[in-house]
Structures are given as structure tokens and as C-alpha cells.
């Protein structure tokens, strides 16, 4: 039996010791003397969150399929264990071998949201790896960053030896082969990084310097070597059907957020909502073959024993074989007593029929994401959902017995007026009224309708048409939330409507990180040193500490959030090429201001540039 890194005293003292012992079904144990590369794959948040992430399961499974590589998992120790590890100088370890991460060859960190930035530092620190890449010597693991946040890697550039930009399936073999070759030649860390910088998709930040204009905007970049690329093109898998898929995902002992089999039906999204980063980063849409998906579903349920399966994609309703796949799952799953958890589908007769088959109508709720309260603003953001469609869907659903509706909106979108905000209350009210109009009194199942309206604050993200947009201040956000609340209170059916809104502090910070440059890294480092970790967890988020750090580092928040950006500004992330061109994004930004919508990829190509990858929706028969 493996010896655990933590002794019984510690494990009995901390909450949920199962987070730290590994040994889960389908976790992979190898003989460390028989592998050439040891890789620690980290999600810098607590186990239950990290274990729910599909990307890690894909990479974990793919790397472990290679005989000469052993990939282990690492998550952020929760605050209780964090404290003990610091006191006792226990180095952070991989769950599989229970051995220190610092003795491995690579530490790969997936960065899914900005608010985990201090947890990256926590992981490095507990692993006893120097926080700054520049301070890491020979023998220290190569620290790799990946995931959506690395499309603007500059705010965290100082902490990483290299970034892998794009989808993980394509370049790891090449990277490892070069690593093994360089080591055999007796090459140094620097030699390895220099070679790595020439591998497609790999960005080695320490070889580049960011240059600034007097006003603080980016002037350009200076590279240290002539033979390394100026721009980094994202990596992408064009054939998703034959790409690696984890048929034996690790099954946690404790309940985690995503405690089910996850089938990724497609990558990318045809829609082009102008606020959405994922919709641009993962272009073009590539669908997985439906027969393959059916066979994956059967095998994965068998290999994990999970009692639930869900579909994953940015917009499942757009998958061309959705009905076939769902029919199969419903048929197969009912035999196996498996639940199907449906992704949020466009509400129409088809989806309502499917939903009524797999869930208890009385208990489940419908979800609409109009994102904006008025048609005008929905045109600005290119959200092709009209009031008519929403009300029709709601009426259909109410007839079918549903009584709960969830509505999602954003506040602070570009060009937003008081009218648009008022529209949120109006629309919520109209949906309630639709219920009373469609369902006769004696047929009202729960007696009433429940509408939950939620708003989040809009944060402009790189590689979206709104990357030029100004962001609201905290005060403006709160004022908008107040107006929304007032608008709802004035409604006739206000008793049927519940309103939720988010904290504004975190949104402001997220806004800074999202469009930040390299100057931000000192603030993150400082905040970490002053004790900030788990910023994504409201109980551990200390806005006052953060604000003080910005002040002490002399970094102006407004420069990153509320500042107007001219059309020709050079952005810190412009050297990364996600396939979609800046010209296209600018065109969309102008169209947004003109309140003009753009068709989706299926209806008409908008010439975004992603067709250069030579496949997917851009070339399929529409």
C-alpha cells in the first residue's frame, strides 16, 4: 500500500481527508523508475471543483496512455491543510505517488478563471517552487500554464516558464520528446525553454519584454532571440471525433461539483454573442460523430459506475444530431437507471418533450438567458433571442406543467440605458403574466409561478468584440442592480419574481485581470504575500487587501477597466492569435454600436478568420 504524504494526525484534523489521499477508481499508478517524464497536472482550486473539470481528465488520460509518462493530479489544499503544510514545511504532492511536485519534471496548471490567480501562487509556494520563473534553477519542474485565461497570459507571465496556448491534445508529445532529448544531451533549463519556444502554440514569456508608451498602453514587444516567433497561434484539434477522449475518467470518493459522466459533443459555438469569450476562442465549431458519442456514453458509464450523464458544449441545441443522441441516451439510460442531466437547451417543443422525459416537471425549472432586457440591447450583444420566442417557449412550458423559470441577464453592457434595465423587470413580469394567461386556475400545479431573475456584471474580455468596451465602476454596477430591483418591484406580478445579483467587488478585479498587462503581476504577487488565496470563494475574498495592494504598487484600476480604448490601441494580448482576426472583432464592435446583428456560422459565414484552420463548420455543408 502507498505511503501517504500526510500522516494520520493531519488527515484526521482536516476537513474531507479524501481530497488528499488519491486512490480513486481509474486513477493511474505507475512505476516511477519506468517512466521518462513525470507530470503534475494541477487545477488551482479545491479538489471538488478541480475534479469536475473535463479538460484535466482528457489530458490526464492522454498522457498516462503514453508508457513513458506518468501524469498525476494536484489541487489546491483547502485553507485548513494549507496552514498545516506551511507550519510543518510539508511540500505539496501529487495525489497518485504522494511524492513532492518539486521532484517532478513538469507542473501543468490549468487556468479556467481569473479569480484563481493567487491560488497559482499558493500551489507553487506549497510545492516549494520559486514563485517567479526567473528564480527557478535547474532541477525545478517546468511550470506550464494552459486554459482560457492564458489567451491573455501577461498578468501572470512572470510565474510561468511557458504557456501552452490552445487545445491540449496536440503538442505535449513534441514537448516531452524535446525535453527527453535535451536532458539526454545534458542541456540546461534555458536550452529546453529555447527549443520549446519554437514548438507551435508554446509561449515562453521570459524571452519577451513588453514595451509601453508614456500613457501606459502597450507600445510593442521585444524578443530576446531572433528565432522565436512574434505571434503565437493557438493549437487546435481539427478532428475532434478521433481525438483522445477519457473513457475511464477518475471517479472521486467524495461528492464533487460534476459527479457524472460528461460527454463533450462539440467544441466551439456558431453564435457569436459579442460578450462571450469562449465563443470566439474555440472557433470554428467542430462536432463529434454521434455514433462515437453513443459508444463513449456506454463505455464511460460502465467504467465509472456513475448514475448520471450530461452533455457538454457551449450551445448544445446547435449540435446537428442532438435528437438522435438524446433518443439513444433516454432509451439506454432508462434501462440502466441512469439520469440524464440536460444542458440548458433552447426552449422549444423538442427540448420540452425531452425534458419531460428525463426530469420531474414539477420540480425542475426552465432556463432562459436573454442577457439583456430590451431587444435593442440584445441586438447590440448579438444575442439572437427575441421576446416573442421567450414568451412562446414559456407558454408551451407552462402548458406542459412547468412552473419555475430562471432568467439570466447582464448589467453594464455597452450602450446600456435605464430603459434597457427596466426591460429586465418588464420581461420577467410578462413571463409571469403568460403563466396566468395560459394556465387556468384549476390547473395550476404548484398554485403559482416562480420566476428567478439573476443578473451578473458585464466584464469585457480579450478576443471579443467588446474588448474595446469600457467597464462600469463598482458604484455604477450597484446602482444598476438597485435600478433592476426597483424595476421588478414596480411590476404587477412582482410577488412571483425573485431577484438575485452578484457582488461587484470581484467583478472589478476580474475586469483588471482579464485585460491586464504584465504590470499586474506585481499586484497579484503582493496580494498573495498579504494572505489572499481562494479569491473565488466570497468568504476568503478580501477586497480591502486587494485595493491596498493596487495602491501600494501604484497600479491604477481605472486604466484597465473604465478607460476608453481607441480602435487602434495595441492590446497586451495582441501577440496571441486565436484564429479570429482583430479586424473581424473591430467590425463586430462597430456593428454592435450600430445595433446590427450578425448571422451565425450556420446561416452565413462572417469571415472571422477561423477558416484558416481548414475544417469544422467553415467547410461543412450548411
Amino acid at each position: 500500500m502507498r505511503k501517504l504524504a500526510l500522516n494520520d494526525d493531519i488527515l484526521m484534523q482536516v476537513e474531507k481527508p479524501a481530497r488528499y489521499i488519491g486512490n480513486e477508481v481509474n486513477s493511474v499508478i505507475k512505476d516511477k523508475t519506468q517512466v521518462a517524464v513525470r507530470f503534475a497536472m494541477c487545477f488551482p482550486d479545491v479538489y471538488e471543483i478541480g475534479m469536475s473539470h473535463l479538460g484535466i481528465q482528457i489530458i490526464y488520460s492522454m498522457l498516462n496512455e503514453w508508457e513513458d509518462v506518468w501524469c498525476e493530479r494536484v489541487y489546491s489544499p483547502w485553507v485548513d491543510l494549507d496552514k498545516i503544510m506551511r507550519e510543518k514545511h510539508i511540500p505539496l504532492f501529487g495525489l497518485e505517488s504522494q511524492e513532492p511536485v518539486k521532484d517532478m519534471d513538469f507542473l501543468g496548471i490549468t487556468i479556467q478563471y481569473e479569480m484563481c490567480y493567487t491560488n497559482i501562487l499558493q500551489v507553487l509556494d506549497l510545492a516549494q517552487i520559486p514563485l517567479l520563473a526567473a528564480e527557478r534553477g535547474e532541477g525545478m519542474p517546468i511550470v506550464i500554464g494552459g486554459g482560457p485565461c492564458t489567451y491573455n497570459p501577461e498578468p501572470i507571465a512572470d510565474f510561468f516558464d511557458l504557456f501552452y496556448i490552445g487545445e491540449g491534445e496536440t503538442q505535449y508529445r513534441k514537448l516531452f520528446d524535446w525535453y527527453i532529448e535535451n536532458r539526454a544531451k545534458g542541456g540546461t533549463r534555458e536550452d529546453f525553454l529555447r527549443g520549446a519556444a519554437k514548438i507551435p502554440g508554446i509561449y515562453v514569456p521570459q524571452f519577451y519584454e513588453e514595451l509601453y508608451n508614456e500613457d501606459g498602453t502597450v507600445k510593442g514587444r521585444r524578443k530576446q532571440y531572433d528565432d522565436i516567433p512574434d505571434t503565437i497561434l493557438k493549437e487546435i484539434v481539427m478532428d475532434v471525433t478521433d481525438a483522445h477522449y477519457p473513457l475511464k475518467p477518475v471517479v472521486p470518493f467524495i461528492k464533487v461539483t460534476q459527479d457524472r459522466v460528461v460527454l463533450e459533443i462539440q467544441r466551439g459555438c456558431i453564435r457569436g454573442c459579442r460578450f462571450c469569450q469562449a465563443g470566439q476562442l474555440y472557433r470554428p465549431v467542430r462536432e463529434r460523430n454521434v455514433d462515437k458519442l453513443k459508444s463513449y456514453a456506454v463505455q464511460m458509464l460502465k467504467n465509472t459506475g456513475h448514475e448520471e450523464i450530461s452533455l457538454s458544449s457551449l450551445s448544445s441545441s446547435d449540435y446537428s444530431h442532438l435528437d438522435e443522441l438524446l433518443d439513444f441516451l433516454i432509451e439506454d439510460c432508462s434501462q440502466k437507471h441512469t439520469n440524464i442531466s440536460l444542458p440548458s437547451l433552447r426552449i422549444d417543443a423538442f427540448s420540452l418533450d425531452v425534458m419531460s422525459k428525463v426530469q420531474d416537471v414539477k420540480k425542475s425549472s426552465l432556463t432562459f438567458a436573454p442577457e439583456a432586457g430590451s431587444q435593442r440591447l440584445r441586438d447590440v450583444i448579438n444575442k439572437g433571442l427575441t421576446e416573442e420566442v421567450i414568451l412562446k417557449g414559456a407558454a408551451l412550458a407552462f402548458e406542459g406543467g412547468w412552473t419555475r423559470v430562471k432568467l439570466y441577464f447582464m448589467l453594464g453592457l455597452p450602450t446600456e440605458t435605464e430603459e434597457d434595465i427596466k426591460g429586465i423587470g418588464d420581461l420577467s413580469n410578462k413571463i409571469a403574466a403568460t403563466f396566468f394567461d395560459t394556465v387556468p386556475k384549476d390547473k395550476r400545479v404548484n398554485g403559482k409561478v416562480q420566476i428567478v431573475t439573476s443578473t451578473s456584471f458585464f466584464i469585457p474580455k480579450p478576443f471579443t468584440p467588446f474588448q474595446w468596451a469600457t467597464m462600469c465602476t463598482k458604484e455604477e454596477f450597484l446602482e444598476k442592480a438597485y435600478q433592476t430591483k426597483q424595476g421588478i418591484m414596480e411590476q404587477l406580478n412582482q410577488k412571483s419574481i425573485k431577484y438575485n445579483w452578484h457582488e461587484a467587488d470581484v467583478s472589478v478585479l476580474e475586469g483588471v485581470f482579464a485585460r491586464g498587462d504584465r504590470k499586474i503581476s506585481q499586484v497579484i504577487l503582493e496580494a498573495y504575500k498579504r494572505g489572499c488565496i481562494f479569491d473565488a470563494w466570497s468568504e476568503y475574498f478580501h477586497n480591502d487587501v486587494w485595493m491596498q495592494c493596487f495602491e501600494d504598487c501604484g497600479v491604477d484600476i481605472g486604466f484597465y477597466t473604465t478607460r476608453e480604448r481607441p480602435d487602434d490601441e495595441r492590446f497586451p494580448w495582441d501577440f496571441i492569435d486565436c484564429g479570429v482576426t482583430k479586424e473581424f472583432l473591430l467590425r463586430e464592435w462597430k456593428k454592435a454600436q450600430d445595433e446590427t446583428v450578425s448571422s451565425n456560422c450556420k446561416v452565413q459565414c462572417q469571415g472571422c478568420g477561423a477558416n484558416r484552420f481548414g475544417g469544422g463548420i467553415c467547410y461543412e455543408n450548411r
Binding site: 500500500m1 502507498r2 501517504l4 494520520d8 494526525d9 488527515l11 484526521m12 481527508p17 479524501a18 489521499i21 488519491g22 486512490n23 480513486e24 477508481v25 471517479v251 470518493f253 467524495i254 461528492k255 458509464l301 460502465k302 467504467n303 465509472t304 459506475g305 456513475h306 448514475e307 440502466k336 437507471h337 439520469n339 426530469q359 420531474d360
Partner: protein, 232 residues
């Protein structure tokens, strides 16, 4: 058909709590392809009953759960199928068919035997065997049981059926484990330590549950304990 499964839980698995063990077995049964009976409704669940919950940190070679199956080839096949999908630290020891009228595992539990041993070295108690005897020879062993709701005085002695020391110097005991009168082995040990005026931190010794018993005596008669696996 009702089936009783006996299993051991040890090593790193001692850190997995009771509810998570239930989830673990639910998934294991699906991986093993056992034709278990499900409840009706939108989210069907397996018909399954665990005997006595085991505290986190305790090892066991006498854990039980009952399931209902719709079909099976043999108990040996079920045992093999389950063992093929286990993890390090959980092992299915036996599978038996229960008589139709048998009470479920949880309702059957009357007593459990435990072994307590220092993780390193031996208990720092001289003449351990004599001391244990003297301790058990007391008229009564009063203990104040504090729960969230109440504070009650109980006499532990009533629920300690046997206590002694084995040849390795480990303390062995057979105590009440029924839902109404369950006694924790650590509580008994704490009282023993008080009796000999010693303090031994809980984490310095390992507790192992050896077996779980049911009582087949008629009402009013002396206890007759048999392992849950021997029912039927």
C-alpha cells in the same frame, strides 16, 4: 433475492466516511454489472442497506451491507465481480444469500468486536492484562454521554460484553453496537486510561472493527451473538 455482502476496509480507505462508502459501493455495483433492484421514480436508487456506520479513521474486516438483486448466477460470481472493481483498501470477503424474512443489515446489528493497538510499539501500561481485568471488574463504569441534544449518564459496563488483551498486547473488546445502545471503542479505552491514570492520544493507536454481530437469542434470554454473515 436478498444478498449480504461482507467487506474489509483498511489502509488509506479508512479516511473515506460512511456516506461516501455507500456512494462508492453504488458505483461499484454498477461497474460490476450486478443486477440490483432499483426503487421507482424519476431518480431511482439502489435498494441497499449498510450495517453499522464506521467512523473515519477506523479500519475494519467485518463490514456489511445488504442489497436486493433481480438475478444472479452465484454468490461467488458476485464476489469476484465486485472484487474486480474495488480499489486498494476495500475487499469483498463473502457474499451470502439471506432468507427472505431476514431483517436488513442495519436492523440486525447487536454487537461489534474491536481491536485497539498502538500504531508504534505497545501500550505504555504495565501489566496491561491485569489492569484491563480490574477495570472490567468494577461494579459499574459510569460515563457521561454528551450529544447535541442531551447529556445522559450511562453505565458502559452494561454494553461491554467482553474485554481483554491478545497475545500481541492489543486490546480486544466486544461491545454493544445496536442503534439504541452503541458504544464507541474509543470511549471504553478513554475510561480505561482514566482508570490507570494515563493519557494516550486518540491518534496514537489504531482501532479495527473485527466483526459485526447479530443476536439470535429469544427475548429475555442471554445474548447469543453470531456474525452477520452467518445468518440463514
Amino acid at each position: 433475492m436478498k444478498i449480504r455482502i461482507k467487506f474489509a476496509k483498511y489502509g488509506t480507505m479508512k479516511f473515506i466516511g460512511h456516506l461516501d462508502m455507500m456512494r462508492f459501493f453504488q458505483k461499484a455495483i454498477r461497474r460490476a454489472g450486478i443486477d440490483i433492484k432499483y426503487s421507482e421514480g424519476f431518480s431511482p436508487h439502489q435498494i441497499m442497506s449498510f450495517a453499522a456506520p464506521l467512523g473515519v479513521g477506523i479500519e475494519s474486516c467485518g463490514e456489511y451491507m445488504d442489497i436486493e438483486v433481480l438475478s444472479m448466477t452465484s454468490t461467488q460470481d458476485i464476489k469476484d465481480a465486485l472484487n474486480r472493481v474495488m480499489v486498494d483498501g476495500v475487499e469483498v470477503l463473502s457474499v451470502t444469500v439471506l432468507p427472505e424474512q431476514a431483517k436488513n443489515a442495519m436492523a440486525s446489528v447487536a454487537a461489534a468486536s474491536y481491536r485497539l493497538q498502538m500504531k508504534e510499539g505497545a501500550f505504555p501500561i504495565d501489566h496491561l492484562e491485569d489492569k484491563v481485568k480490574a477495570f472490567y471488574g468494577e461494579e459499574s463504569i459510569p460515563y457521561t454521554k454528551e450529544t447535541k441534544k442531551s447529556v445522559v449518564e450511562v453505565d458502559l459496563k452494561q454494553g461491554i460484553y467482553e474485554i481483554g488483551v491478545d497475545s500481541d498486547g492489543a486490546i480486544m473488546m466486544l461491545v454493544n453496537a445496536s442503534s439504541s445502545g452503541n458504544i464507541k471503542p474509543t470511549v471504553v479505552f478513554e475510561k480505561l486510561c482514566q482508570f490507570v491514570n494515563l493519557e494516550i492520544p486518540q491518534l496514537s493507536y489504531q482501532v479495527t472493527r473485527l466483526e459485526t454481530y447479530t443476536d439470535i437469542a429469544k427475548a429475555g434470554e442471554e445474548h447469543v451473538f453470531i456474525p452477520l454473515a452467518d445468518v440463514g
